[in-house]
Symmetry: C2
Subunit: 180 residues, 2 copies
């Protein structure tokens, strides 16, 4: 059987320990017989570029990794707001359109509506409607996972590398069918 | 020349005046000889479904509209945080993967880094790195627009239907090549 390549999407690249986090996820993938592709820009030569041009280079490198990957595991834990990281949301959309399975996890156990509206109101402070679809985030993201045959794993926990790796490994086990 | 079909992405569907907003954007599209596809779930029969199943139906309907569209114009104005709406980010990724042009606009004139970090710090309160690529949002979104041949329009303004329609029309004029 050919080795599965997994794109490791998430705001993990912004963590102070991004390099260690990526290495740990890649190592877990290898343990389960898979290749993990972590989108850290460490192999790109960006020194001579303007910030904008450097951003474009990283974009193109990440697109290349997604083209190569067979599926994606996305860290969908809320990032700087009630929803997941928008770059990761973009990547879920990209992989979904390529017909590749989308798997995800979140360390926030609440439904999206409960995260935005603690008192159950149907609109937020700006008068914007709050989606109540019993989903962990916007319906396009959860719908893409469901329709692709993947799953969204939830494990309420404080943010820590250990907590991320524990639930990430559960996803890996489910994908590869290997118990433990 | 065949009529261009444009997917109208954005959190506009959550506005209190979503129906009017959608109708106004579709009407502007028609004025420029295009078909506007606004993802409001008004034509779906969701009454008998659980909230989760209803969410999936809306997801599938929106996917169908994106498959039909030739390009997307996304409202990328920040939504419930420093970044754009994640459902819209998903849709930009989906359209990018299909090789369709991505156009966008935002009513927030600041760069993403300045929105997150008023004092110029390189990390946020949680120690997460702040991207400084001189872009209006995450590099995957701006990169997708740039690489697809589209453009991101910026016009600092308070949120109002009039402000959205004014900049939306600028995007339409640029796409269709019609001055005014």
């Amino acid at each position: 059987m050919q080795q599965l390549s997994i794109y490791l999407a998430g705001p993990d690249v912004f963590w102070p320990d991004a390099r260690d986090a990526g290495a740990a996820k890649v190592s877990l993938c290898a343990h389960y017989g898979c290749e993990g592709l972590f989108p850290l820009d460490s192999n790109l030569d960006l020194q001579q570029l303007s910030p904008y041009a450097a951003g474009l280079e990283i974009f193109r490198a990440n697109i290349g990794l997604m083209q190569r990957a067979d599926l994606v595991i996305a860290n969908m834990t809320p990032f700087r707001g009630p929803s997941m990281d928008v770059g990761t949301a973009f990547e879920i959309g990209y992989m979904a359109a390529l017909g590749k399975p989308v798997w995800g996890y979140t360390l926030d156990g609440r439904l999206y509506a409960d995260r935005v509206s603690a008192n159950g109101a149907g609109v937020d402070a700006d008068g914007m409607a709050i989606e109540r679809f019993d989903m962990a985030d916007n319906l396009m993201l959860v719908g893409a996972i469901d329709d692709s045959g993947g799953s969204l794993f939830t494990s309420p926990a404080e943010h820590s590398l250990e907590a991320h790796l524990a639930i990430f490994e559960k996803v890996l086990r489910s994908i590869t069918g290997r118990g433990k």
